[in-house]
């Protein structure tokens, strides 16, 4: 997977693995208020999900993975509300 910063949005592309957690962490720590775009993301590793849960960035973009949309998206949305 690639993790890259596009202006103020962090884009996740392809399947996310455990090794993607470290660069993502650096980008999330690097600038408060950065959004994360998941539209081009494949499957998501628990280590990456964990980062989204702790930093609670705004998650943007529609993902095509059914499992993500049914089960993960609501958990992230819930974190957003708090």
């Amino acid at each position: 997977m690639t993790v890259h910063l596009d202006h103020r949005t962090i884009r996740l592309e392809g399947n996310c693995y455990v090794e993607d957690a470290e660069p993502l962490l650096a980008l999330l720590q690097g600038g408060a208020g950065r959004a994360v775009d998941v539209s081009a993301m494949g499957t998501i590793h628990a280590a990456v999900l964990q980062l989204l849960l702790i930093f609670r960035p705004q998650v943007v973009g529609a993902n095509s993975d059914a499992f993500f949309n049914r089960w993960i998206q609501p958990v992230l949305a819930m974190a957003d509300d708090e």
């Binding site: 455990v18 470290e22 628990a46 964990q50 980062l51 849960l53 702790i54 089960w71 958990v75």
Partner: protein, 641 residues
């Protein structure tokens, strides 16, 4: 709504109540092995279900209780009073925590400490043999769980998966395992420990807990977690009543959970419908009086009767929606009484008896605290010490009965103890000290009047304030709590033979919608049902008629009366700027009552007048307003009569 949590609370309470009842039965019949087995199963099932939530101290306490029960089951331990007390104390603690969990979504802050104290009591009661019993328990454990798992049907399994924090290094992706669970019905992802500061966060330490529900067979779920079986707990969600399952399932299918707020909304709409219907009733009467075509008039009357009937039925049906059984509330008290008695070194058996009644939910909810206080009082003050009881020739174990019965439109809950009764002389002397009543006043009071003194604010006969009864609430608090539900409290006592406190309550809380009207500095309520119409009378409409005034309303002459005058203040509104008035009365006897102004419409719980207020003409009752003021409710028909 959180279904998983609701189901846990529902089942947890049932299991706790069943365990409590079985423990009390076990105490009477210590040889009954089936009772021990049932309590063990109840505690075991509860323990399993607590794993779904963040209820560490509860799970831990149940675990120790389970070990003790397993010791009893395998006859390593023998039941004795200390053990029963510790187990009953545990169940009481569990019920309290369930209440806390329902109210706050978590356990109170002192939970860990309390849990440790209860666990210590259990360990001590076992004579330090719990550890020994525990090994036997684990062997028995798995067998029992397997018995529950394998059966077919749409059984739900709850999954709690706590990945080890170094699982990422082992190459695990916990999310992938969850993804592999077939027929996932629910998924929560929570932090295991609170998230720390983000700047020092270790991305390679897993801090996640997955709580899920699946409809798949247990074996398939186990397959999804085959590499991490040690990190997963599976609990069958409907494993508690193997035998009576079909009945339970059928009841569940016919039940529907509805938020109370929606019911209230429905009830409010129905109330408005009733008011609209009353307005129509008046119109129909006018039409009938106008002598229009008699065919239409008859048809209208028939239609109106129909609407009346249907509306009344609708009103009643909606009110019935709020009715819940009273018995679950009462069944909580045997074990509570037992626990309170343990703390005071007394032996008490509380028996629940009486009719199965259904009562408005808010009444049931509002009764727990006052009843608990009464039970505490009975055990603490009513029941004598063991020595005093044996000196009086009474059995060492005191009996308290808690009986509910129907009496016409209301029901009575009577709590009777076989203790020492209330000492009237002591009441009199306390009344002298604390209420400042003098001897002559007291001498004039009947025995019943003296008894009633306990309901006075600031009255407590206890010479020393004990930890139990001295919680800052006295019988006056009980009376006001019951009064707020529209009920009454009375007390009867016989020296040496015991005390009975009776609560008389309505089945339903009947709210009356009133308009508040002002007259000078005072506010009154007028039931909306009693007002035909509110009108604004212009100065030129007001016509003097002999000593009074009148005005024309819908082609008829109505007497125009003044509220202060009707209330005996002998004062009239000048009327130079016009008047606010309400048209009231029945049939032909209509009149308009002028008021200073109309303010809010509010729903109040109306109470009939009592004591020296009773019998005042034109006042039908009182109500407490939201801001704590007493509102007198007028009866306009009486006022103009």
């Amino acid at each position: 709504m959180d279904e998983l949590r609701d189901q846990f609370l529902l089942e947890g309470r049932e299991l706790a109540q069943q365990a409590a009842a079985d423990l009390l039965a076990l105490e009477r019949d210590p040889a009954d092995a089936s009772l021990i087995a049932r309590v063990f199963r109840a505690v075991h099932t509860m323990k399993g279900a607590t794993g779904l939530f963040d209820l560490g101290p509860l799970g831990s306490l149940l675990h120790v209780a389970e070990d003790l029960l397993d010791g009893l089951r395998s006859k390593v331990l023998r039941p004795d009073t200390a053990m029963m007390s510790a187990l009953i104390g545990t169940i009481v603690q569990v019920e309290r925590w369930l209440d806390d969990f329902e109210a706050a979504g978590k356990l109170p802050t002192d939970a860990a400490e309390r849990g440790r104290a209860s666990e210590a009591a259990l360990r001590q009661a076992s004579g330090g043999r719990i550890a020994e019993a525990a090994s036997a328990a684990s062997a028995a454990d798995t067998g029992w769980m397997e018995g529950l798992g394998g059966s077919a049907g749409d059984r739900l399994t709850a999954i709690r998966y706590v990945p080890r924090s170094d699982c990422f290094f082992a190459g695990d992706d916990p999310l992938e395992m969850i993804r592999a669970v077939p027929d996932l019905r629910r998924l929560d992802i929570l932090p295991r420990e609170p998230w720390g500061p983000t700047d020092t966060f270790d991305p390679f330490a897993c801090n996640l807990v997955f709580v899920a529900v699946s409809g798949a067979p247990r074996a398939e779920i186990e397959a999804a977690f085959r590499f991490v079986p040690d990190q997963v707990e599976l609990v069958a969600l409907d494993d508690k009543n193997e035998g009576g399952d079909s009945e339970g399932a059928m009841t569940a299918a016919r039940m529907l959970r509805v938020p109370a707020a929606r019911l209230d909304q429905l009830a409010e709409t129905v109330d408005e419908l009733m008011i609209a219907k009353n307005e129509l009733t008046h119109l129909f009467r006018q039409i009938a009086e106008a002598g229009l075509d008699s065919g239409i008039s008859r048809a209208l009357t028939a239609g109106q009767t129909n609407i009346d009937r249907v509306a009344a039925r609708l009103h009643r049906t909606v009110a019935d929606l709020r009715l819940v059984p009273l018995s679950p509330l009462l069944r909580r008290f045997p074990v509570l009484a037992r626990e309170i008695a343990d703390g005071l070194g007394k032996q008490v058996e509380l028996r629940v008896s009486g009719d199965s009644l259904e009562v408005d939910k808010s009444i049931v909810d509002g009764l727990f605290e006052p009843l608990l206080h009464l039970v505490r009082n009975a055990v603490d003050h009513g029941i004598e010490t063991k020595e005093a009881r044996s000196a009086a020739g009474k059995p060492a174990t005191a009996t308290i009965t808690l009986e509910a019965r129907r009496t016409g439109d209301s029901f009575v809950i009577a709590l009777a103890d076989d203790g020492r009764g209330i000492d009237l002389d002591r009441l009199r002397s306390t009344a002298r000290e604390k209420l400042g009543l003098d001897g002559a006043d007291l001498a004039a009071l009947s025995e019943q009047d003296v008894l009633e003194l306990i309901f006075r604010p600031g009255f407590s006969t206890s010479a020393k304030v004990s930890a139990l009864s001295g919680r800052g609430v006295g019988m006056d608090a009980v009376r006001s709590a019951v009064g707020a539900l529209g009920g009454k409290v009375s007390v009867a006592s016989k020296a040496g033979a015991g005390t009975t406190v009776s609560l008389t309550l309505p089945f339903r809380i009947v709210m009356t919608r009133v308009v508040t009207v002002e007259s000078g500095a005072e506010r009154f309520g007028v039931p909306i049902d009693a007002i035909v119409e509110t009108v604004r009378v212009a100065p030129e409409q007001i016509q003097p008629v002999r000593h009074g005034r009148a005005f024309i309303w819908r082609d008829r002459v109505l007497p125009l009366l003044d509220l202060p005058d009707l209330l005996g203040e002998g004062r009239n509104f000048p009327g130079a700027n016009g008047l606010h008035a309400m048209v009231v009365g029945e049939g032909d006897r209509l009149a308009a009552i002028a008021v200073e102004k109309f303010s809010d419409r509010i729903d109040v719980l109306m109470r009939p007048l009592e004591g020296f207020l009773a019998g005042i003409k034109g006042i039908s009752g009182t109500a407490l307003t939201g801001d704590g003021h007493v509102l007198l409710i007028l009866n306009p028909v009486e006022l103009i009569a």
